[in-house]
């Protein structure tokens, strides 16, 4: 059970300054505190300081993230146009075989069985469809961004300044610059996401 403020020491009064300022003490306690403060300049000064601190905190601004960082975030995510896969299935590991590809496979089988005597098309990697390519580009960007962030973060806590300055920071800086950072923008390089090919 609380004691009334008139039995509190100045030290105890000062511990209750913040709830007093917020009007969160019981009404009777608020009245008694007010009465004490009227006659105690030291405690009143503490209330004044607390008030100044709160006013200052309230006046502190919020900030928008710098535009290049925002661009980088969007380039690595939504502007890649494909959602980042969570669990990637087998068909996401290489270009998704369309029915045409399956038909080509069946054709190859048929040739192998000697059913159709036709030359096969010359081999070489099939260009992926645009959706698969956009997906893969998003994955590459994500992986490199993550690597860049981890090296950058790790670089800050490195004990060995030489190693940090000579290897880690340039590598992470380079990775983030390659992915369209401020420096890349200043050099006039676009960091737009890949349009459908």
């Amino acid at each position: 059970m609380s004691r009334w403020p008139e039995t509190w020491s100045c030290e105890e009064i000062r511990l209750h300054v913040e709830p007093y300022l917020d009007g969160e003490l019981p009404a009777a306690t608020m009245t008694r505190m007010r009465s004490h403060l009227g006659g105690c300049p030291e405690c009143a000064a503490q209330v004044h300081l607390a008030n100044e601190i709160q006013n200052e905190l309230h006046a502190l601004p919020e900030f928008d993230i710098p535009a290049p960082v925002l661009q980088r975030i969007l380039d690595q995510t939504i502007r890649a146009k494909e959602p980042l896969p969570t669990r990637v299935g087998i068909w996401d590991r290489w270009p998704r075989p369309t029915w045409a590809a399956l038909a080509a496979a069946a054709l190859a089988l048929a040739l192998g069985l000697g059913v159709i005597n036709q030359p096969t098309p010359s081999s070489g990697p099939e260009p992926p469809d645009s959706a698969a390519l956009a997906q893969a580009t998003a994955e590459a960007r994500y992986a490199l961004a993550k690597t860049g962030l981890l090296t950058r973060k790790a670089g800050r806590v490195l004990h060995d300044k030489t190693l940090r300055d000579q290897i880690v920071m340039p590598t992470s800086r380079g990775l983030s610059q390659a992915l369209g950072s401020t420096a890349a923008q200043e050099s006039g390089v676009s960091s737009e996401g890949v349009d459908d090919v």
Binding site: L15, V17, E18, P19, D22, E24, P41, E42, A44, A45, Q46, H48, L49, A50, E52, I53, Q54, E56, L57, H58, A59, L60, P61, E62, F63, D64, I65, P66, V69, L70, R72, I73, L74, Q76, T77, I78, P83, L84, T86, Y142, A145, K146, L149, R152, K153, R156, V157, H159
Partner: protein, 174 residues
């Protein structure tokens, strides 16, 4: 604008500002913000959008806390610099260069004192006193009961006052 872009656009200010005040470094705050939104992206399908802000603030706070611990465990001495944008953007009503200088100094000392606070006081003060979140939102973001939020806000401000009382002759300030 897609749903994700909209969320980024609406929430980036809260996320970035929190990180900036927490870490005292615009550069680290940028990294944390990037991390947080990449994490949002990779969890996009699982997120309940009605409580995306508390989710984001919780993830931001955890990322900032991790960075702070790394700093502390490092032998490198980290001196939080005064963020010039914070100090200079004071909408003071007083006139006169001496008063302005005093206000700027006071602001600098308040933000430095904030960066010395431990948890959970640093988080709750940033969320409540700087960013103006409601107690309920802070409770959800930090996973803290409502009354505990209130108590921690008061204790945090008390610690700031104790930190600054040594520097400021509180009688002459009145």
């Amino acid at each position: 604008m897609t749903g994700f872009e909209e969320v980024v656009s609406q929430q980036q200010r809260k996320v970035y500002s929190f990180a900036r005040y927490y870490l005292g470094s615009p550069e680290e705050a940028e990294d944390v913000t990037q991390e947080v939104f990449l994490k949002l992206w990779s969890n996009w399908r699982k997120i309940d959008l009605t409580s995306v802000r508390p989710w984001l603030l919780r993830v931001t706070r955890n990322a900032c806390f991790d960075r702070l611990r790394q700093r502390r465990s490092s032998s490198r001495v980290f001196l939080p610099e005064s963020d010039p944008e914070m100090v200079e953007s004071s909408p003071t009503q007083e006139s006169g260069p001496e008063t302005l200088a005093q206000r700027a100094a006071f602001r600098r000392h308040v933000t430095q004192a904030l960066e010395k606070l431990g948890e959970p006081y640093r988080s709750v003060l940033i969320l409540r006193e700087i960013q103006g979140l409601r107690y309920r939102d802070i409770s959800e973001a930090l996973g803290m009961p409502l009354n505990t939020v209130r108590v921690n806000i008061h204790r945090g401000r008390l610690q700031l006052r104790e930190e600054l009382a040594g520097r400021y002759d509180s009688v002459s300030m009145a």
